[in-house]
Symmetry: C2
Subunit: 157 residues, 2 copies
Amino acid sequence: MPDDIDRIIQKSYEACASAGVKLTDKRKNVLMVLLGSSTPLSAYEIVERYKTQFSETLPVMSIYRMLDFLIQEKLVHKLETASQYMSCAHIACEHQHETPQFLICDRCGSVKEIAIKKHIMTELERSIQSTGFTLAHQQLELHGVCKHCQDDSVSAN
Amino acid sequence: MPDDIDRIIQKSYEACASAGVKLTDKRKNVLMVLLGSSTPLSAYEIVERYKTQFSETLPVMSIYRMLDFLIQEKLVHKLETASQYMSCAHIACEHQHETPQFLICDRCGSVKEIAIKKHIMTELERSIQSTGFTLAHQQLELHGVCKHCQDDSVSAN
DNA sequence: TATTATTGCGTTATGTTATATCATATCTTA
DNA sequence: TAAGATATGATATAACATAACGCAATAATA
Ligand SMILES: [Zn+2]
Ligand SMILES: [Zn+2]
Ligand SMILES: [Zn+2]
Ligand SMILES: [Zn+2]
C-alpha cells in the first residue's frame, strides 16, 4: 500500500472536481481497495475486499460501474490481458500521465506501471504508421517474471 | 481468406509432423475456419462457423482443446485483449516467427499481424531490464483504427 | 496379433468475467 | 418541495473458460 494514500485520495478528489464529476464515498472506497492491494484485482475480488474492509456487500454490477468511472477519470487502469483492475501509480504525480507500460509478473501477479520511454513509443508509432494504422488507447501490457520472483527461484536451487 | 490456403495447410501438416504431433481432421478444420475469417473469432464463434462449414456441431470444450493445440504449435495466436483467436499470418513463411505485434482495429475488428522491428524490441527489453523484470511470451497488442476504417469515416463526411 | 499405453475427444458440471434492464435512492436546482 | 439528473441496487443472462471423468481410436510393443 502506498504510504501517501491520504495524499492520493486528496489528489483524486481534486482531479474529479476539476473534471466536474463526483468521487462518491463508494467510488473512493473502491479506489482505496485497489490502493491497498499489492496486485491488481478482478471485479469479484474487489467485492470480497470491499466487504472485508467496509463491512458492506456491493453487487458486482455496481463495482463494474464504479470501475468504469474510475477508469474514465484515469484513476484506475484495466489490465486487458488479465481482466484485472489496478490503481494508477501516478495519481499523485505532478507530471502528465504518459503512455503506460505494465510489467505483469506471471508468477506472483504483481504489476509495475512504468512510463514507456518516449522515443521508443515514437518509433513504435512510426513503424505502425507505415501500415496506415492509427493507434488509440496506447497501453502496453508485457508479461514476464519480476525481480523478486527471479531471486526466489534462484535461492530455491 | 488467404488464397494460398492449400499451401498453408500443407505447411501446417509439415510443422506438426516435424514436431511429432498430429494435425487431426478436426484440428485442421478449426484452423480452416480461422483461415477463412477476416477477423479473429471467439471459441463460441468458431463453434458456429464450424457447424456452417462442416455440418458438425462440436462442443465448445473441444474447440478450446483444439485451440490449445494449435496455439502450442504456433499455428494460431490468442489475442488476450479481445479473448479471440486468429491463425498466424506467417505459417507458410520461410522465416523464423519473431515477436508478433497485433494491430487491432476497434472499429471493424480486423487484425493485422506484423513482426515488431527487432531494434525496437531490443530497446524495449533493455529499458525493461533496468527494472529487473524479464520478459516472457512477448506479444504486443495495439488497439486503434485501421486504414480502411479511417478512409470510410472520411468519405462519410 | 493380442496387450497395453497414449491420445483425442465427448459429456457434464462448474467457475469466472461482463453486460442488460429496470427499479429505487439520492442529489441538484429552480 | 417538485422535477430532473445522477448514482446505486437487484435480478437475470450472456460470454468466456476450465475441471473432471470416461470412452473409443490409435499407437507402441511384446
Ligand atoms: Zn497510470
Ligand atoms: Zn513476481
Ligand atoms: Zn504469427
Ligand atoms: Zn477497421
